[in-house]
């Protein structure tokens, strides 16, 4: 293990900033919670940044302190894994706007000594990336061997070489997109409105009181449907009914209890989510995703985003992912081709929809391992 206090699990740094933001204004200080795995090479040339998705966090390969669950990408990151912590120095930081230790709406605003709540500035995916770059500066890492992420993590991985063309050698973008579509925004808006319709939300000023858990749970339930495929839901639940408390099996209640197994599953997803996530963070991060349009940031032409970088790209999509379908990855691939970038792309088959990237996918792991090994 490294003796550098900046390295290791459960790290936290408060950087003075200011971090200029896309929406105008700036953030100061910039708190970043992160973990590192493996050993940084003397020339700092073996760093890999893992970017997390909407509701994930920095605990990519270690147990989550609140839920006790294993890291969210344990099959991808670790000793002997595709992102091999025996070879690479892996960094995963909580995005700004989130609620696991990095600056977000639940953080204390130094100006008022109270939680920011809705006075926290609206941030973008690029702001998240710039905050990560500040963390890398703090860690003394100029250049990343690779940046990798799925879903919103993929947006960051795509944004990295576009924002810092000389700081990334390779980008791995899984189950992601270069922009949010009207449908993506629509689903997020349903979630936000569910939070805001909860009377406990109190225009965001609920810290110290009761959190708008009911609204956030509904938001999570709606979003969770978009992470799964119809076929996956059918296989897992079909129209099967819950066993009832009185032991009766497979009977309809002719009421509004969770009769169907899929209802019970979604309720569980909603309830377990509110224990670990802040409702305002959910608003801010979904907003950042909705604002994401990499082409718009580069004169309306996606290829322009990739002209300045020499990075290699690896894109992976899943055939049952209807949240960020293969066509979105293909749009990115065509732009990379137009820019002359070195790009690889494959659509993998999976019954699990968008969530496939978080599950054990041996093919995805093999591809990432091959891509990581193919530095030439």
């Amino acid at each position: 293990m490294s003796h550098d206090q900046r390295h290791g699990l459960a790290r936290h740094i408060s950087l003075p900033g200011p971090l200029p933001l896309d929406g105008g204004g700036s953030l100061s200080p910039v708190d970043i919670a992160y973990e590192t795995y493996g050993t940084l090479a003397p020339d700092a040339g073996n760093a890999v940044l893992v970017c997390h998705a909407l509701t994930m966090d920095q605990y990519v390969a270690s147990d989550h302190p609140r839920t006790g669950k294993p890291g969210w990408w344990r099959k991808m990151v670790g000793p002997g894994c595709p992102i091999d912590t025996d070879r690479y120095f892996v960094i995963c930081s909580n995005v700004i706007g989130s609620c696991m230790g990095s600056s977000g709406p639940a953080s204390i605003d130094p100006a008022s000594a109270k939680p920011y709540a809705m006075t926290f500035p609206v941030i973008t995916i690029r702001d998240m990336v710039r905050a990560q770059a500040m963390l890398l500066d703090h860690l003394g890492i100029q250049r990343l061997k690779a940046v990798i992420g799925g879903s919103m993590g993929g947006m960051q991985a795509l944004s990295w070489p576009a924002t810092f063309p000389d700081r990334v050698e390779a980008a791995i973008v899984i189950a992601s997109t270069a922009r949010h579509t009207a449908q993506n925004i629509a689903f997020h808006e349903v979630g936000r409105q569910a939070v805001m319709a909860d009377p406990r939300w109190q225009a965001g000023d609920y810290y110290g009181g009761e959190a708008p858990s009911a609204g956030l749970a509904v938001a999570r339930m709606a979003a969770h449907i978009t992470y799964l495929s119809e076929a996956g839901l059918t296989e897992k639940f079909g129209r099967r009914l819950q066993a009832r408390a009185d032991g009766a099996k497979g009977a309809k209640s002719f009421g509004f209890d969770a009769d169907f197994q899929v209802e019970s599953y979604l309720r569980h997803q909603g309830l377990s989510f509110v224990d670990r996530f802040d409702a305002n963070s959910y608003l801010y991060i979904t907003r950042a995703m909705d604002y994401f349009d990499l082409a718009e940031e580069h004169g309306g032409l996606l290829a322009n985003a990739f002209r300045a970088t020499g990075a290699r790209f690896c894109l992976v999509s899943f055939d049952t992912d209807w949240l960020y379908p293969t066509s979105e990855s293909r749009t990115i691939v065509h732009a990379l081709n137009a820019a002359g970038a070195r790009a690889s792309f494959v659509e993998l088959s999976s019954p699990y929809g968008h969530d496939a990237f978080l599950l054990d996918a041996p093919e995805m792991n093999r591809i990432v391992a091959g891509f990581m090994g193919g530095e030439r």
């Binding site: 290699r312 690896c314 293909r330 691939v333 065509h334 732009a335 081709n337 137009a338 002359g340 070195r342 790009a343 690889s344 792309f345 494959v346 659509e347 993998l348 088959s349 093919e363 093999r366 591809i367 391992a369 091959g370 891509f371 090994g373 193919g374 530095e375 030439r376």
Partner: protein, 204 residues
Amino acid sequence: MTLRPDLAIIADHVEPGSRVLDIGCGDGALMAALRDRRGVDARGLEIDAGNVAAAMARGLSVIQGDADTDLAGYPDDSFDYAILSQTLQTTPAPDLVLDNLLRIGRRAFVSFPNFAQWRVRLSLLWGGRMPVTRQLPERWYDTPNIHHLTIDDFREYLKHRGIVVEGSWFLSGDKRTADALANLLAQHAVFLLRRAGTNDRLSG
């Protein structure tokens, strides 16, 4: 590793250090050989996900896609060579694929099985059956080959379109066959092509 004979010919005639797009690159065998032996910057396009994964595992830049729909995004002259090996006869619109090939690449290698080879002729003439040979192992209902062509067909097409032939190689098994009787004797043909009116020197 030994390359398929038509690929070996291509590999021997690609200029070292050039930029190559291999369309229908399979598991990347040719790309890997070009990269390792000739320092070529090779990119690939391949329709089969398993092949793409295998090529990516070799550290190659390969995109899963279709020659019929995914070539349009590449800029003109973005490669020194565009390679289409054993794929032309499987595409719905081979003429459009050839157009794209010669647009994207300053030069193009095209290889295909010759459906006028004597074994194929005999099978149809005497057997009255669509040929199933070692080179064309699939039956009529499961073959990917939908646009059957012969060497003479291809030569006539090139002439008609004013496409310049810079080289041609004909194979029976792994042996070379003379040009004169190629249409009768050759199982495979390899052509090196360029657009008429373009500079015959590599500028990349």
